[in-house]
Point group: D2
Chain length 433, copies 4
């Protein structure tokens, strides 16, 4: 976790305090269930709740115990017994450490998913607002970095809106994947703890029951979770790269908001750099880097080995905190993005009308020319325009091979910008409903 | 594509013949839609269908044209016009290459997903059969590679069944992710082609309409697809690693079927090696290796760049063909797996009963001993048993600190294997319904 | 291997024919060594060489045998005995399959490295030629995609020359890493084969002796090899991305050569797209994708498991063939790159001189202004110039806060382009010697 | 950085205090060089050194300034001017932020490499000690997890010694790769700062001069560095997996040292789990996960973009701190590893002598039997022995097809363990010199 790329709410999910609180809740709910089943005395469960709910768990003290016993859950239980007193011996009955650890991780990942989904909702809102604002702001569409045909800036944003709608759905699925509870004992057989305890704790903690666990919750779930985050991060990268391109000096169709006190460079005071979107590009790489270790964690040995544990201590917090930060950063960036419609129009007109060449070609074929003939005819004039010999429309008007097929009026109609924007409403309806 | 790791049906999806057939279908369906809209003559669409449906596309000829024009779709259209004649000029009206390429890729990936889902169904069936066969075959559960508590071989398999049920669901979601059709022109504005053409082609090809495309179908969809494959592959690896462990000389609880003609090693004729599961382990690495390039493909520049194309020429076939092969190989392996219940039992008894130590510890705490005291008491005896001083039960029977709390009868009941199997039915009901 | 991204020489290294020829050479050299040691009859080794050297190994026949015995080396040896006759029984004495397989792979990877190094040499030559051609062609340097200060196109290329010099060194190191021979028997103890056989075969095959093997050559070597390839591929990507940027419509400082017959797009005849460099970008992703599986191959179980084998069947050919193709493609691209010095100059002047702002700021501080004061003074005028209020030089000349410190002559000297180019010779001397 | 996987010395390299101290040294050395060149007054450089060397940089104060100016180097320079006074305006003359940032990173990575190399030296020492201790401790060699032929535990360790010798060499190369200094201005032209400044600072900081930089030091260097770390981590994983295998209950040939106070499991007091090596396995995954983002950082846009920066804030500390920790953990683990020679011998004898089958087969062929005949003869008896019908030697002694070719004495000599160990000295000489 890098403080500069971390926000408070997500970071709090992964704090030692939160973890021990969740551990307590799992143990205490289990105690309640065990008491209901008559396995432990009711007063024991009650005492655990009363003393534990009021207590603040002492992270330093637990760490100190762990240094001695070299086992984190035993250290916690020892500290819990310091708080609860003799009734603590009824806690954790028939359970194994992973019952607590894995269920806690599920709670943390679920909460993390909740925040990420809320982040995406805010980003969607920001994108939507700007998309409608620029629904009909014409700009050039580019393939291969080369001017293609006109589109609108709103349409660009509509594409991102649709993509982050999918991102949201992936996060919802990912949240479901990992929101399971396992309290099934050392090898998942419920030998010493009833499935009813698991069912009760699951319900109380907002989880579903893991159908079959093997001491641990199977790690394909976690891998699917981190894979979903990686796809979301890659979508963020696409948007970040778009902005970086639009802000290039030669393009300058949009620009990150540059606050008055901000300095762009120690050496070049005039520079306004797209550092936020560059930053998001780098953060996307980091979120993605969690995927491979998460996939490598799946093939644990037999009923479990503990190799996944260290991996998750890194990627659990890192991937979620980083993605949360990147989503929020992007939301602010989009909300405040400075858009230059006049630059968009100037760029659009830069290629002297050759972006309309496909229309001309189609019109020629509809007049009966073979596709190949039309293609070559338009290509010839387009190259001349592209090389600065004049606007394509003017060149076409004076090419007899063209004017044989198309009148001046017909030609002019083919250069009407509205032609390209006529289906914007349709697309917006598809995307925004 | 490595022939030895490829099966015919999946390989066929990615052949040049299949690709050109799908291209034809997309173009021909588009022609039908264009004719309905009055954009091209009805007879043109009809001729395209009649001549094209009957024709066999000449891959070598198309390749030859491509070498000249350096553009695959133009090469195909040129060849199509050789087959269809002058009416071919009405084909591809207002469309761009990616309309064909991306929709074709969607069809191929959807068909690949269909096969993979069918593969998983067969694997599930094989696992289920063996799971019920060994529902109550006791074996030792292991954490950290160390004996933990008894479980059954059926329970192990039930875990894999549940995991591949999730794998199936992920593939179904992945299939939905990529089964979209885009026929929207050079920058996705439908400037020269009506959204109705896209809707018609989508329906005919069994796809849904891409809400907003930008010449290309957005690559977050493909990334999510390959990520899903990677998770499935990792689950295969887990199963493969389990078998490799069970077949170790010292463990030998199960063994890959070894056909009479097969030779295990050029040097050591006695060896029967788990080469199929080792092979699946390696193949899983390869399927996973598609994830990062697929994620890197997402951030295409502006309305598209073509960097994704070469990547997909590799990973499209490779990841699907490899996973198909690995799933089928694993299905055969599981179906024919030689299981040794007697070895399982022998291994189970190898640690002289210390696997029951948790039960003893719990029983002691229920008799009123502090958890810490019970823990140390059992640990001491367990260590002695583990070191070969005698079965744990015998040692406990002669330890006065133990016998103060537990009678001989009580102690003996704690070593009953049935105790560990009592919830097998419950878990099977959860998993198999 | 994708034929369109494969060249003949590299592909041949990985053919079945080449592989069996190398296997033969290893076995035959081993036979010679065994004969020298008196382990097998001299005439046997002689016969093997005579009959084997003349023979063409029948790949289909070997495959047929392998389908029965399910073991590739045994299949080969069986076929060899069909060619050599009864003396073949002396072949492979005391050896194990991996002795042949791993030593062969070392030979193949070494040859692949030879080709890659030759590829890099050609690329270096192409870059060098263009670097000297454009040593003093001024263009704007950009950080964050934003104009920074002037540089030259030759300097840009010098940077790539230096980078590919490092790439070459990495390939040389990688070649050394994998060029080892192991003929040490089933667990590497030389129990049944003398270390002298290994030494002899190593020398004959142009390899060094593996100090300690465990049936297999340790896979950290191969991982280091593929990691080196991945770094080289990433350098290619950087160059590809540079060209893609320079070819953007708004920038157009350089352009991939566009042959007369080539078509850029089925829809937009005017487009000339940087498809080669986009292609190299994608290929770089693929070369990189070999790294993780290669790293995952390192931790084989005990003296070996065979999980690495399937991985290497993919990545051995794929990574080397793809990188070979990408290097050659880039070499042609650079050699023929169309450079537009006039566009470079036009872009350089686009920001009205603000790229000289650092110089002005420094001059002001040298006149005694505090850095912060100078910074703000220049920033204010730079912003005005950037917003089109006039060339920075003119604005500075009329700002009394500036003219108090700097005379008109001094200001004008700060806008001299030569200032930025004065160390080009020094850098070229460092890079090209 | 996860505190539980971090050691003090490596962590200190990445602290804010260290970073600002290095920044100061770079700036101060540059000032000295600038003074020598007459660019700034000598007393200014002297003052900077005097006041700066004595000062403690206030991290909180710098952070506070950064929050306002949003630029880390400007924040530092501002704070420096608070310490140094008016002479601070001469600092950073003609330099750009990256000159400081990248050179500092080079210093930090070089120091990190120093520590890692020292770590590997300690690990080598530990492995060597145990290798000689167990040079002739026989144990079974295993391929595919199946018993193959005898080897010694010392030979296993010798293999790791050789591997970590290579690891060391890779780290030395990696250190060279990144130990360069760049002080070349905003686009690397030395327009405002002389190459002599760079040369002076490089020498003072123990670096070499970067031949050509582009504001930044090229990131192929950093990628090569992290790739080297990943290969080293994978070698650690191989050793960790070996230990985990050896500690399995059924194998138990070696065991991690288990301190008296340590608890293996909250539920099963008898368990001693190989948690250190499992932990190293997971840590290796994390070190590896830095490779892909590092490779993705290479293709920065034009003269630089800042997307690499966030990536390096994570992986710079994380990969080096984690690898340092894992190396040290492994060193302790190996030094204290509990080895059970008697279990090794028991396992060796477990397959009733079939591990000698290759020797028997060879002996038979040397007596004139065809390889295929010998193979089948041995295989038949080996299978019987493997299935428990008796020791292989006994079965062979009573098989007339065998005894026709080999006498009892000859057969017995083929089961002599010394046969497998005869080349241990040779291999040790190769590895340890």
């Amino acid at each position: 976790m890098i403080p500069r790329y971390a926000r408070a709410d997500m970071t709090a999910i992964w704090s030692a305090e939160t973890k021990f609180r969740i551990w307590f809740e799992i143990e205490a709910h289990a105690a309640t269930a065990l008491a209901k089943l008559g396995v432990i005395p009711e007063h024991a469960a009650k005492t655990v709740w009363e003393k534990g709910a009021a207590a603040k768990f002492d992270v330093a003290r637990i760490d100190e115990i762990e240094r001695e016993v070299k086992h984190d859950v035993i250290a916690f239980l020892t500290h819990l017994s310091e708080i609860v007193g003799p009734e603590a011996r009824f806690v954790h009955q028939g359970m194994t450490s992973s019952d607590v650890l894995d269920t806690c991780l599920a709670v943390q990942m679920k909460r993390a998913a909740d925040l990420l989904i809320a982040d995406v909702d805010k980003l969607l809102e920001a994108i939507k607002t700007r998309a409608f604002e620029h629904k009909l702001t014409p700009c050039i569409g580019r393939s291969h970095g080369i001017h293609a045909e006109p589109t609108t800036f709103g349409l660009k944003l509509a594409g991102y809106y649709a993509e982050f709608t999918r991102a949201r759905a992936r996060l919802v699925t990912a949240r479901e994947e990992i929101a399971t509870c396992a309290i099934s004992g050392p090898v998942g057989t419920f030998a010493s703890v009833s499935p009813e305890v698991e069912a009760y704790v699951a319900e109380q903690m907002g989880l579903t029951v893991e159908p079959v666990s093997t001491q641990v919750i199977p790690r394909d779930r976690h891998a699917a979770f981190f894979a979903a985050l990686a796809v979301v991060a890659s979508s963020l990268e696409r948007l970040a790269v778009e902005i970086r391109h639009l802000q290039r000096t030669e393009v300058l169709e949009a620009e990150e908001y540059f606050s008055p006190g901000q300095k762009g460079s120690s050496a070049m005071p005039h520079k306004r750099n797209p550092i936020l979107s560059e930053n998001v590009t780098g953060l996307a790489r980091m979120v993605r880097s969690a995927v491979i270790p998460a996939l490598e964690d799946v093939a644990l040995w037999h009923e479990r080995d503990i190799s996944h544990s260290s991996v998750e201590r890194y990627i659990g917090p890192d991937a979620t905190i980083t993605l949360d930060f990147a989503l929020a950063r992007m939301t602010g960036l989009i909300a405040k993005l400075v858009v230059y419609p006049e630059h968009m129009l100037a760029n659009l007109n830069r290629t002297h009308g050759v972006v309309n060449s496909q229309r001309v070609m189609l019109a020629l074929t509809q007049k009966g020319l073979a596709r190949e003939v039309a293609y070559r005819l338009v290509q010839k004039n387009a190259m001349r325009a592209f090389n600065g010999e004049g606007p394509l429309l003017d060149l076409l008007k004076t090419d007899p091979d063209v004017t044989k097929a198309l009148s001046t009026t017909e030609l002019e109609s083919l250069f009407d910008l509205g032609f390209h924007l006529k289906n914007v409403d349709t697309i917006f309806a598809r995307v925004f409903g």
